[in-house]
Symmetry: C2
Subunit: 194 residues, 2 copies
């Protein structure tokens, strides 16, 4: 099955390609498709908005995901506002700095957090497949590592060896990451539906 990928972030697209290899053929998002306003109140709602906009623009099946970082000491923030935590036009460097600032007084044991990814594969006939993945961990005291993207340099997964996601190879990260789990669930659902 040929599926258009909603992400315009090449690192994210590469990750998704790795995770869905052999299950779908991923097509890049056409340059003429505008961004959608991600104003739903849940990750599922935002992933659906992105996937459906792309189906409408291309007439092909499309896959989109939305990821939230939920920090316990911040009452679950930034959550659905993860990509714009430091403001609507903030970069991820701004967002990471904003997060470390917000947690400056919070000791190590209380820096627990969780990444959650929801992925929607939408079809032109209106059907869709939804999958979800979580990864628990803690927020590091400072940035470490230069791989990945987003909050990877400040997130230490609980199933790992103390490295941040940005200090891991993509394969190590995929094995335990929220996005890895969500896309593996999606691949399982696709395989079962054949």
């Amino acid at each position: 099955m040929r599926v258009v990928c909603a992400s315009a972030n090449p690192v994210k697209v590469r990750e998704i390609e790795d995770l869905l290899v052999g299950v779908v053929e991923l097509l890049p998002r056409p340059a003429h498709v505008p961004d959608v306003v991600e104003d739903a109140d849940t990750l599922l709602g935002n992933a659906r908005l992105k996937a459906r906009a792309l189906v409408a623009a291309t007439g092909l099946p499309a896959v989109a995901d939305d990821t939230g970082l939920e920090v316990d000491a911040l009452g679950g923030a930034p959550g659905v506002r993860t990509a714009r935590f430091a403001g609507d036009d903030a970069s991820y460097a701004d967002n990471r700095r904003h997060l470390l600032d917000a947690l400056r007084e919070v000791p190590g044991a209380a820096r627990t957090a969780r990444f959650r990814t929801v992925v929607v594969l939408a079809s032109p006939d209106g059907h869709e497949i939804v999958a979800e993945g979580e990864c628990r961990g803690t927020i590091a005291e400072s940035e470490r590592g230069d791989r990945g993207f987003g909050y990877d340099a400040v997130f230490v997964p609980g199933d790992g060896d103390g490295r941040t996601f940005a200090e891991m190879t993509i394969a190590d990260k995929h094995a335990m990451s929220h996005r890895g789990r969500a896309f593996r669930h999606l691949a399982d659902l696709l395989a079962a539906a054949r």
Copy 2:
């Protein structure tokens, strides 16, 4: 559309009937259908297990939801273990007591929490519709109110007036609850798919 409801809890079934009135005709779960083991690692996974088991047993579309309570001071627990927080055979009275005990030393402002419901409507042809709803709030210092079920007597929604869910009428609770939001999203998706 006639849809079998996975819940065996009559209060929950009544709530879902109220929320989907005019959209689907809800059928009670047949007595001969056994419980499924809810061992998925996400709310979506558990809701899907319940909905698909019921489709397999009845040959009809089925709706199932799974709800998690995520308490920030407990690192997001009980989460996917919400129904068995005090043990595998615990009652909800046990679970509420266990929660209040765990938060005994936690002051009011740090008692933030969130309910999240994921609902899956699965069809015999393998298609499904997924919806999600959240409700942020705080955990009360003690139980208040005798309506509802589950953790309603200890959860104070942030959009309300300080009452717990168990002190509200069903209509007031539905207006802001995680389950109300999830099933309204489902009703919107069903209406849009017609």
